[in-house]
């Protein structure tokens, strides 16, 4: 019951924060002056420009303009994407699916690798595996994703040609249905072995590159919370019960160490989303990141702003999901806050 109330409150906060994000985004669109420039041509007279402004409601006071804009947003009108030559709403779904797929696989790499490495490091504190894991985590946090991606391209694409660029081989991609929009999942559903292999071949390298930085963050957090729980008295109490060390670590130490790590996992999803920009660029992954870099270079503001709105929404939803997991993992959280 308490858990439910807590989650409802978190949920109620979500639209409020999204409203705040929309204010920021709107401010940004008006930052460089009236967006009438998109429609105006240099040889228009001031009167013609004013007429244009009136037509698009740009002569109204700023709050009113914001209300118009927000109204459009809520109806699903995210504007016209110059780079895609289509309404933003029409193209964003596909891009989002591609990015989400990449981010989810990267998250999988980061979470599994991070928890495993962090656990080992925390248990074998101040021994070789610990030092290795710590150095690895610092290295991961210091490596520029875009550079790391380029570096991996040299052996795995240029020399060995193991992993292709892009998201898919178009013919294979078109040969299966796409009920979910996530290529790997669709391929799995279609039970088409060629498609499954194609989807996995394409996603491995970008997912590893993208997940590397987040894994480093998770390793660091998992290690320190493992160190903390390993010194808790209930771990000694579990040993005093005669439990084997493996079980002591798994059920008593790691389980509790996961609780603080959960928040970091949520936050690291932000790193995945932002890292995706560069990774998509390098691996020619047709997602939001590639889309938005194109928009930046051509000054397509509607696309940029839609991108900011959508990624924030994804980020917040992921964190909400983590909060739910957190409340499940540690019942005391809710009572404590």
């Amino acid at each position: 019951m308490q858990v439910k109330q807590y989650l409802i409150r978190r949920l109620a906060l979500l639209p409020l924060i999204m409203l705040g994000v929309s204010v920021i985004v709107f401010t940004l669109t008006r930052f460089t002056g009236s967006p009438v420039g998109i429609y105006a041509t240099p040889n228009m007279t001031p009167d013609e420009v004013a007429a244009l402004e009136e037509r698009y409601g740009l002569d109204e006071p700023i709050p009113v303009q914001y209300a118009y804009w927000l109204g459009g947003l809520l109806r699903g009108d995210l504007g016209w994407s110059g780079v895609s030559v289509a309404p933003v709403t029409d193209v964003i779904g596909l891009k989002m699916a591609a990015t989400l797929e990449l981010a989810l696989f990267a998250a999988l790499v980061a979470i599994i690798g991070g928890i495993a490495l962090g656990t080992i490091a925390g248990v074998r504190r101040n021994k070789a595996p610990d030092h290795a894991a710590r150095f690895f985590s610092i290295l991961g946090a210091s490596t520029p994703t875009f550079w790391f991606g380029l570096l991996l391209l040299i052996p795995f694409y240029l020399w060995l040609d193991w992993f292709p660029l892009g998201r898919s081989t178009p013919e294979i991609f078109d040969s299966i249905g796409h009920p979910t929009g996530l290529y790997t999942v669709d391929a799995a559903i279609s039970l088409n072995p060629t498609a499954i292999w194609d989807s996995i071949r394409h996603i491995i390298l970008p997912a590893v590159v993208l997940g590397f930085g987040s894994m480093a963050i998770i390793v660091r957090m998992m290690r320190s919370s493992m160190v903390e729980t390993m010194s808790e008295e209930y771990v000694d109490a579990a040993r005093a019960k005669g439990l084997p060390e493996k079980l002591v670590i798994k059920r008593h130490a790691r389980r509790n160490a996961l609780v603080p790590t959960a928040t970091v996992i949520g936050l690291s999803f932000g790193f995945l989303l932002q890292g995706a920009v560069a990774v998509e660029l390098i691996f020619r992954w047709p997602g939001l990141g590639q889309w938005v870099t194109g928009a930046i270079l051509s000054g397509d503001q509607a696309t940029i702003m839609a991108y900011v709105l959508v990624t924030s929404l994804i980020f917040m939803l992921v964190n909400l999901a983590v909060d739910i997991a957190y409340a499940y993992l540690d019942r005391r959280v809710v009572l404590g806050s």
Binding site: N126, E233, Y234, A237, K241, G242, N256
Partner: protein
């Protein structure tokens, strides 16, 4: 010490060191004592005297590193077969089989010693799963020898009666029977400690229970397998005095009923009188005095014991006239070879700062480690350097 065969636990010459960046801390320094079956030995001392480390060493729970068993043995005698195990040198499997089964432990803060993310029921079930798997299977109507999973696989699947075994057994339709057997075992253990509503407690998480209730759960968990020895490490320090009284009543009562020997670790001498048969006082990693509890309390011989007793406020002491021991406990990082109490002792003489006093056996089953009871020639110093002598005959007057 005594050589009778009537003992359960014998700690011989135990030293535990901790390596720190600043030097080696000699937390426990050549400590020997023994616990007889069914008796209560109280190990008393102030913060940092090494009593908790001693207790943990018995279970081999001192973390290595930074800890290190520098010398000695912890011998546990099987009362039925007479076989003796050294907990410090035995293989880990054997140590684990002993923990929780023949030696159990209650911790100082029950709030910290219970896993916050598991229900009470699961935490107790772990003990049964670890040590009483065969018994549970029998109760569930499965022959542990011939059953769907042999006793061998139970031993290997040490998760015991929890998930993994359930999973295996579910397919064979025994899941419910085993679950019921576990629940019964857990509930009877809980209700044995006077927990009024064991079914509810079983499914609750530690934070939902009060401190006293948590300590009851800890006791239930510790006594689940009827251990020969219960180590109680300051079990009531974190509790209020009214709760403490009830927990002590409970431990007492359980001991009466089951004949468990208790090693009671405490800093509170006033608890000892109600509780202990024998008493050992520790100071700075060494035992300075031991003997029958009431005797030691009545006529303490070591200056530290005397000081400790005089420092406790009592009804009769005039206000502001407590006999405090001056100074504070010395650091135990690479300590000099001397009586550690010498810096605070009123009797301190030249010899005290150059010799480590040995535990001297006295009439009345008493031991004291103080140079006042030793002869100058036996340790080879000038008699004028010795503190004023006390003849051992004076002790039991």
């Amino acid at each position: 010490m005594m050589n009778s065969d009537d003992w359960l636990l014998r700690v011989e010459d135990l030293s535990v060191h901790f390596r720190t960046p600043r030097g080696v801390v000699q937390a426990v320094d050549h400590v020997s004592f023994e616990v007889k079956p069914k008796e209560t030995l109280a190990l008393v001392g102030e913060t940092g005297c090494g009593k908790s480390v001693t207790a943990r060493s018995i279970m081999k729970l001192v973390p290595e590193p930074p800890g290190e068993y520098a010398s000695g043995a912890v011998l546990l005698r099987n009362l039925k077969t007479g076989a003796v195990t050294d907990m410090l040198s035995a293989p880990m499997d054997q140590v684990r089989a002993t923990r929780g089964d023949r030696i159990a432990m209650i911790f100082q803060d029950p709030g910290k010693a219970l896993n916050p993310s598991l229900t009470i029921g699961r935490q107790l079930a772990e003990v049964f799963g670890e040590h009483r798997a065969a018994m549970l299977l029998t109760q569930a109507g499965i022959d542990p020898e011939k059953g769907p999973i042999g006793s061998g696989s139970i031993a290997s699947q040490r998760a015991g009666v929890l998930r993994r075994n359930f999973f295996h057994l579910t397919r064979r339709g025994h899941s419910r029977a085993i679950r019921a057997a576990v629940d019964d075992a857990v509930m009877s253990a809980l209700s044995d400690t006077g927990i009024p509503n064991p079914r509810k407690v079983m499914s609750s998480y530690p934070h939902e229970l009060s401190g006293g209730m948590k300590q009851r759960v800890m006791i239930a968990q510790a006594l689940a397998c009827d251990p020969d020895l219960l180590i109680a490490d300051e079990p009531t320090t974190a509790l209020d005095v009214t709760i403490q009284a009830r927990i002590l009543d409970l431990i007492n009562d359980m001991q009466q009923r089951r004949g468990t020997a208790i090693l009671y670790i405490t800093h509170d001498l006033s608890l000892v009188r109600q509780f202990a048969d024998r008493l050992a006082v520790m100071y700075a990693g060494r035992i300075v005095e031991s003997g029958p509890a009431l005797e030691v309390l009545k006529s303490p011989q070591h200056p530290y014991t005397q000081g400790l007793l005089a420092a406790i406020p009592r009804a009769g002491t005039p206000r502001g006239k407590l006999a405090a021991i001056a100074g504070s406990v010395p650091q135990l990082i690479d300590p000099p070879a001397q009586c550690h109490f010498s810096s605070r002792c009123t009797w301190c003489a030249e010899a005290c700062t150059s010799h480590i006093p040995k535990l001297i056996h006295m009439p009345g089953d008493r031991d004291v480690a103080c140079l006042r009871f030793e002869q100058a020639d036996s340790i080879g110093v000038d008699p004028s350097d010795m503190p004023s002598h006390v003849a051992s005959a004076e002790v039991v007057s």
